[in-house]
């Protein structure tokens, strides 16, 4: 730590004068220097070091005056001071007046001496932490003074994977499958169905061979006249197909009477 040299600047300043940074000619440099202090407490700690006494026996009154002079000088130089420096200045001005005036017996708040003692405590504590930080950083450090194993061996993990499921998981899974089934989109079961396309293809193939009139029912495929349902499906498909072919001029249809068998014949090609 201590790369900022706070102690040095305060020491050079002496009590009479101010920290040397305020004597710097360039105001920009001044800003940088003030920023070298980490807040008003840090500045106070630096100022207090000029008293060269134990922090617990420091003259808080003297310190307050030093600080206030510092702030005044900074203002005279039109130096931008952060708000917390000004808050501290106000508080120290108050403390200074309390320390100088005889105690007010009607005031039941903390005494000026208590406040001063607390400030001294804060400074001592901050100073102690500074020293502790320095001692810490002065210790042997890994990677600088002592070293870990340079070629560590990797520990291979033998992972035994275990899979698990609860009865609830099982039931949910089954419920999920069943739910899916019930909501399958509706579709025909096409077992007993004969499409017109099939019949059309079939008729076109067969009609060429029959040069004479033939019953439409004689064109039905094998196995499609066993059950009435299948027979109806096939007949309807073939009837629709024959109409389509008649429309295209490929066949001629005739029926002797209502409900009489429908007959079909290939049309003579011109």
């Amino acid at each position: 730590m201590a790369e900022t040299g706070d102690q040095g600047s305060a020491d050079q300043a002496g009590w009479d004068g101010l920290p040397s940074m305020l004597d710097a000619p360039e105001s920009e440099a001044l800003i940088v220097d003030v920023e070298g202090f980490e807040g008003p407490l840090d500045l106070l700690l630096s100022l207090s070091r000029t008293q060269k006494v134990d922090l617990m026996r420091i003259s808080v009154l003297q310190l307050a005056e030093q600080y206030l002079v510092f702030v005044e000088r900074a203002r005279a130089l039109r130096l931008e001071l952060a708000a917390d420096y000004l808050v501290m200045a106000a508080w120290l001005a108050y403390l200074k007046s309390r320390l100088l005036l005889p105690p007010d017996p009607s005031d039941d708040g903390p005494s000026a001496a208590d406040l001063a003692a607390h400030l001294a405590f804060q400074l001592e504590r901050l100073g102690a932490m500074r020293d502790a930080a320095a001692k810490l950083m002065a210790r042997d450090q890994k990677g600088r003074d002592f070293f870990a194993r340079g070629a560590p061996e990797t520990v291979t993990r033998l992972a035994h994977r275990r899979f698990d499921a609860s009865l609830l998981d099982l039931m949910r899974a089954y419920a999920r499958i069943k739910t899916r089934d019930e909501f399958r989109p509706y579709a025909f079961d096409r077992i007993d169905e004969f499409t017109m396309e099939e019949a059309l293809e079939r008729l076109r193939r067969l009609i060429g061979f029959g040069g004479d009139w033939a019953d439409l029912t004689s064109f039905l495929p094998q196995g499609w006249d066993a059950s009435p349902m299948r027979r109806r499906a096939a007949l309807a498909a073939h009837f629709a197909a024959s109409l389509e072919m008649a429309k295209q001029g490929q066949v001629t249809l005739r029926q002797a009477a209502i409900f009489a068998p429908i007959q079909i014949r290939a049309k003579d090609t011109p």
Partner: protein, 225 residues
């Protein structure tokens, strides 16, 4: 061993030259400590030349190594030679300590749990039947996993063309799920009563048959605690 006296010797330097120095070399015990520390911290095996260059003048790393090697004889780590260099290595008989056994528990995949559920509810059931019920192919890995867990086993072959194998659940399965027999699995009616069948999207929302994933998210979120 007087390599340093032979100018024609082009082999890599095996040991530090024994030249007279103004300063006495450190005691051999200290040299041993130095070699020990350097070899410990090095990420690669270190040659004697390298040791010599790091240690103070007048040291004899070869001799220090010899001492150190004897010191580590029979210990948990051994000083071993790797080419021209030296390194610490775990004693070969302790290699098993470099393994760490971990047991991870994972949830069964959705495919596996569904397949398992179908086998449990429909056993004995063939793979083709499982696929028909699930509506998707069942991967070999899923069946294998369940077989390996010993939650399912092969049942009798079905007496149909191709004589397909059937799957049934095992005692271990019943044991794990706390069932006396597969017949104790709750039926559809009970699933419904338990609310497991009612948490489904409205029919209008599942118009597309391949909307499987969306449905799945809905389901799992409803059930996760």
């Amino acid at each position: 061993m007087n390599d340093d006296l032979d100018p024609d010797d082009l082999r890599p330097i095996q040991r530090a030259p024994r030249e007279e120095t103004l300063f006495a070399a450190p005691p051999m015990g200290d040299q041993e400590r130095m070699v020990e520390a350097v070899l410990f911290a090095a990420s690669e095996p270190v040659s004697i030349a390298e040791l010599a260059s790091r240690m103070p003048h007048g040291c004899d790393p070869a001799e220090a190594l010899a001492h150190l090697r004897r010191r580590y004889e029979g210990r948990g780590v051994a000083l071993v030679r790797v080419g021209d260099a030296w390194a610490f290595r775990t004693a070969p008989d302790l290699g098993y300590l470099m393994q760490k056994e971990v047991t991870e528990t994972r949830k069964l995949s959705r495919a596996a749990i569904e397949t398992l559920a179908i086998i449990a509810y429909h056993q004995p059931v063939t793979r083709a039947e499982i696929e028909e019920i699930r509506g998707v192919a069942v991967s070999r890995g899923t069946i294998d996993q369940l077989l390996e867990m010993e939650w399912i086993r092969l049942g009798r072959r079905r007496m149909t063309p191709g004589r397909p194998a059937t799957f049934v659940v095992t005692e271990a399965f019943l044991d794990h799920f706390g069932l006396d027999s597969a017949r104790d699995l709750p039926g559809l009616r009970e699933l419904r009563a338990a609310g497991l069948l009612d948490n489904r999207p409205l029919p209008g929302n599942i118009a597309r048959p391949d909307d499987d994933d969306a449905e799945d998210i809905g389901q799992s979120e409803l059930f996760e605690e």
